[in-house]
């Protein structure tokens, strides 16, 4: 007797791109602050990638509203217990961090470098938030499966990390920057994230038990098992075993991770809404 909100493809894309934007930003900020000078490429790729993505997120979110011209109404109130309310604020705040960091990532002076690192350090939290709050938003609704998924936010965050890092590595590959040290590090971080995502996914399913049926059996099961678990996580991990020697395979693995991230948002949103 419950009603589903009718959040369809636009929101799937938003969840996906928002995850990448958040993941790319915090990866960049971590590389910027704790990596070496040669990880500068990673930082720049991550910062610059997050900006168009978060802008696309804003457009998608506004376009999905029933009355798009009233999107500013979200900024009338701030409810700290309401993921949607904080989310709206954070998308805006993250956009500003992303913009400033992107601009500063082209700096050449040590002073602006230091400033960028400090801004990145604060922005990390917004990146984490953007990647995970969408999961908490779903799990604090009244819907079956969503409301029972205690690890939805954690899973989305892990997926945001893996897809964000995959996106950075893909950009490095495409711009011919995969020769640097940063490429290896970001691939390594991506592997950590994928392994973590697999672990979170396993606990997620175990905790859900029979409530996970919309994912694990039925119409969306092939997509979930094949698209997310198989093609999106296990295959890329296997590819990465040889990836540090064959760069094309590593790039392919990054592409598959991105596809897996999309499938995750798609099956989670659509399985109970269709």
């Amino acid at each position: 007797m419950l009603k589903t909100p009718g959040w369809e493809m636009m929101i799937v894309w938003y969840f996906f791109l928002g995850g990448i934007a958040g993941g790319a930003y915090f990866t960049a900020a971590i590389a910027d602050n704790f990596g070496g000078a040669r990880d500068r490429q990673v930082a720049r790729a991550g910062y610059v990638l997050s900006l168009p993505l978060v802008m696309a997120c804003g457009v998608l979110l506004i376009a999905d509203l029933g009355v798009p011209t009233r999107f500013l109404n979200m900024l009338r109130v701030l409810k700290f217990w309401d993921p949607m309310s904080i989310g709206a604020w954070v998308v805006g705040a993250f956009g500003m961090f992303s913009f400033v960091s992107s601009v500063l990532s082209f700096s050449t002076s040590a002073r602006t470098d230091a400033l960028r690192r400090k801004i990145g350090l604060v922005g990390i939290f917004f990146g984490f938030f953007l990647a995970s709050y969408t999961g908490v938003l779903l799990s604090s609704s009244a819907q079956p499966f969503w409301s029972e998924a205690r690890l939805m936010g954690a899973l989305f965050l892990a997926s945001g990390a893996s897809t964000g890092m995959a996106a950075i590595s893909l950009i490095l590959f495409l711009t011919g920057a995969s020769a640097g040290e940063g490429w290896g590090k970001v691939k390594k971080a991506d592997r950590y994230s994928m392994v973590f995502e697999l672990c979170v996914l396993a606990i997620f399913l175990a905790l859900l038990g029979s409530a996970a049926t919309p994912l694990t059996s039925g119409h969306f099961a092939p997509l979930f098992w094949g698209g997310l678990v198989g093609v999106g996580l296990i295959v890329p991990l296997l590819l990465d075993l040889v990836g540090h020697r064959v760069k094309t395979l590593a790039a392919l693995s990054a592409l598959l991770v991105l596809a897996g991230g999309f499938v995750l948002r798609y099956v989670v949103l659509m399985s109970i809404q269709s």
Binding site: M1, F26, A31, G66, N73, K79, F128, S141, G184
Partner: protein, 258 residues
Amino acid sequence: MARTLAMFTDTSLCIGCRACQVACKQWNELGMEVPEWTGTYQNHEHFTDKTFRLVRFIEEPKPTGDLAWLLMSDVCKHCAQAGCLDACPTGAIYRTEYGTVNISQDVCNGCRYCVSSCPFGVVAFNESTGTATKCTFCNDRIHNGLGPACAKACPTESIQFGFRDDLVAKAQKRVETLKAMGFKDAQLYGADAKGFLGGLNAFFLLLSRPGTYHLPENPKLPQRNVVVDSLLSIGSALIVGLGALLAFRDRGKGRDDA
């Protein structure tokens, strides 16, 4: 704060005439919908943006082999702890001084989070206005000294309107009467202010278990999950961050490509 107003729907008195449903549509100018045959006399199947009151027709098998025909005029419960209200990011959903929950149509921007946050599936999205809609407890009427249209029309007083404390006392007496008459499953749903969702301002007297009426036995506030899930996400962020830190940490000149 004014005294809390409430509607008490005594399903033992409902005759399924649907005067409430029609009166609601008439006053709120909700317009018609094409009916769909659902296998019972019930029409429509569920709340929509054009149906705020809905008489449910439920056939429950009895141990004797007969069917009990249960009728229930369902409506927005105006929960004391309302999931839709807590979910609304624009402040369009508000609580009136009478304790009812209302959606301000000129503030709502149609994000539909309230639709997914109602434990009863009441809030509906209106495609033509792009906003969320639900029963207003006849907000315009109660602010002008009138009762809700449904309660006024009800010919059997199955729907009663008044101050909540008065109605709860009345409802408790009615349950005792019904129990003495042999309706052993007669029970109140949402009357207890210490019960689920802080009590419902539109509460019900049921003749069977809530599940029979497609009502959740123990509805919970969706926002109860926010803290735990956020903490788990923060934990997840720490692990992910640590992983990235390990991968990127500058070990001087050493290559750490695994």
